[in-house]
């Protein structure tokens, strides 16, 4: 029967929290972007694990959607970061403060 669902959940939460933590403390736009991907994948693990546990295909379908969205997001995100690099001379998000009050 394998190892059960619990380790998957732990792994999923860990991956998600790592991503969130990275997103919060890093200033490099690309690293933050990677952290975001990490969070998405953490959620994906949870979906797949629970989908299998509950014998339902819905979770796996959503995972496919999430991956599609993540791919699209990666394309746009990288384009934004490239443009940002050209304008600001770096990918440090502290440089993006035009929206400040």
């Amino acid at each position: 029967m394998g190892i059960g669902v619990f380790p998957y959940i732990v792994l999923s939460v860990l991956v998600f929290l790592l991503g969130a933590l990275g997103l919060m403390i890093r200033r490099n736009a690309i690293v933050m972007f990677l952290c975001l991907e990490l969070m998405l994948n953490g959620v994906n693990i949870m979906f797949v694990a629970l989908s299998r546990r509950m014998c339902s295909a819905e979770g796996q379908v959503i995972v496919l959607f999430v991956m599609a969205v993540a791919a699209a997001e990666a394309a746009i995100g990288m384009a934004v970061i490239t443009a940002f690099y050209r304008v600001r001379g770096g990918v440090d998000v502290d440089r993006a403060q035009l929206m400040k009050w």
């Binding site: 969130a20 997103l23 919060m24 998000v93 993006a96 403060q97 035009l98 929206m99 400040k100 009050w101």
Partner: protein
Amino acid sequence: MKLWVLGAVFIPLLGAAVNGIFLWITKKKAHLIAVPALFASCICSLVVLSKVLGGAHADFDLYLWIPVGKFVVPVGFLIDELSAVMLATVSFVAAWIHLYSIGYMEHETPRGYAKYFCWLNLFTFFMLLLVSANNFLLMFVGWEGVGLCSYLLIGYWYEKASAANAGMKAFVTTRLGDLGFMIGLFAIYKYYGSLMFANVFSHASILSSSLITVITLLLFVGAVGKSAQFPLYVWLPDAMEGPTPVSSLIHAATMVTAGVYMVARCHALYNLAPFSAEIVASIGAFTALFAATIALVNNDLKRVLAYSTISQLGYMFIGVGVGVYAAGIFHLFTHAFFKGLMFLTAGSVMHVLHGELNMQKMGGLIKKMPITGWTFVVGALAISGIPPFSGFWSKDEILAGAFFHGHPVVWIVGTFTAFLTAFYMFRLIFLTFFGKPRDAHLYEMAHESPPVMTIPLIVLAIGSALAGFFALGPHGGIVGFLNKTLGETVAHGKEAAGVGHLLLIISVAMGVLGIALAYSMYIRRVPDPVVMARTLRPIYTLLYNKYYVDEVYFAFIINPLVGGSRYVLWKFMDVAIIDGVVNGIGRLCRLVGSGVRQFQTGYIPDYVWMILVGAVVIYWIGILF
């Protein structure tokens, strides 16, 4: 009849309209329209008067002005003895004043000249409307119209702050009285159900005496304002800021006599309200004495005349107050001649002396301007009540009326005031026209005025000298004629001819005494007026400062009102409360905003923090509740 009346009233309006609308065309030729308009009106009035003399009366409506349900007010005219005499007096005196104005205003700018004649015509029109209206509301139109025109004309030299202020003072003060008059009109409509003279007076007695007293007192408040009686007389001396013919018009023919006319017109009501009549007579007597004492020491040529007018109006109110309405109107009639005359002569002096009004700087002017000087003497003799000049007849009529109608105190005050009147008038004459010139430069400048100014003087002087003889006509003369309308049947002359003659001698003696005292003080200098002023310093100062009435009004009414408006209504109510609330809400929003916007750091990691924390918080809230 109808056409003549309409002609008398509306031709001046037509003149005003032409000069007002075609201001830029008529310019310096404005008098070619204005003066003939007034003379035409004068002729119409005289025709009306002659028809009324023949026994004709008229009460007709031109058209319905306000037909609203039961409230119907026509534009209608009532011609009887009273209004016919008033029409003739007003238009006759006003016509000569118009003629005189041509000479007096010759140095004005073209537009100002046309404007002046337009307003002068309008002024006369409103007064004629006032005296010929057949209902209270139309009378009120004239009443307010003369107020408006007096404001315009007193403030004619509006670039001068004092003139503009005097105009406003006149308007506001008379408005104060008009408020009472208006409430009186409301009361009349409420209780009599009509504003037509005919309806109200024929049913005058349907109301209780106390109600009539209230109504008549309210009407009298209006008269006090318009006719410059105590305590609302303060605007009249300041009205001297206007051109002198305007002062003459205000004092002689239009405006200030309106109150006397109104009381006489409402005699049916005043007869039923003895208390109100008592008040009218008392205010009149007090004002007569009060204003005469101020005139004793004033050095301003025109202001002495202004106080004299206030005093003479007091006489008229004594007349209408003690019930001898015809005598009051008779005095109004003679006063129109001699006061109109005296103002025009004062204007003539002022004109050649380039606006100098201080009597102390004049003297001996009669050699330089004989016509002006001698016509003034005629006017002064008339006002002093020296027979056979006109003032003697009318003043005596009033004083005798007061005495025989049981007002001995009023009679004493009136007789004493006659003495004061003679004194200050001849003080004015001796200072201005006789004695040695006290200012050589001014004396050099003096010369006689042009004929266009002296002819009106001569005409009015003849009127002042002879108008009194109307009293001697058949059937009681002018008094008997007026009494056909005013309905006073008691012929006091017959009651006690001996006492009547005694009173007459006393009042003439008072006048002669006043003249003699003025002669001894200001020509012989015995007693020297300067020394007298020094010995009687407190009284002199009090009189010279006009009893400090203006100061009292400023201290107790105007300043609290202005201060209250400025500091309570404006600075506190408006600025602090109303603006404070509006601005406070705005400031509150900004304050909250400046706190809340601190979240918008612009740093993406901060937003991430907030999103995560927010998500967790919302999640837990979801679980907990």
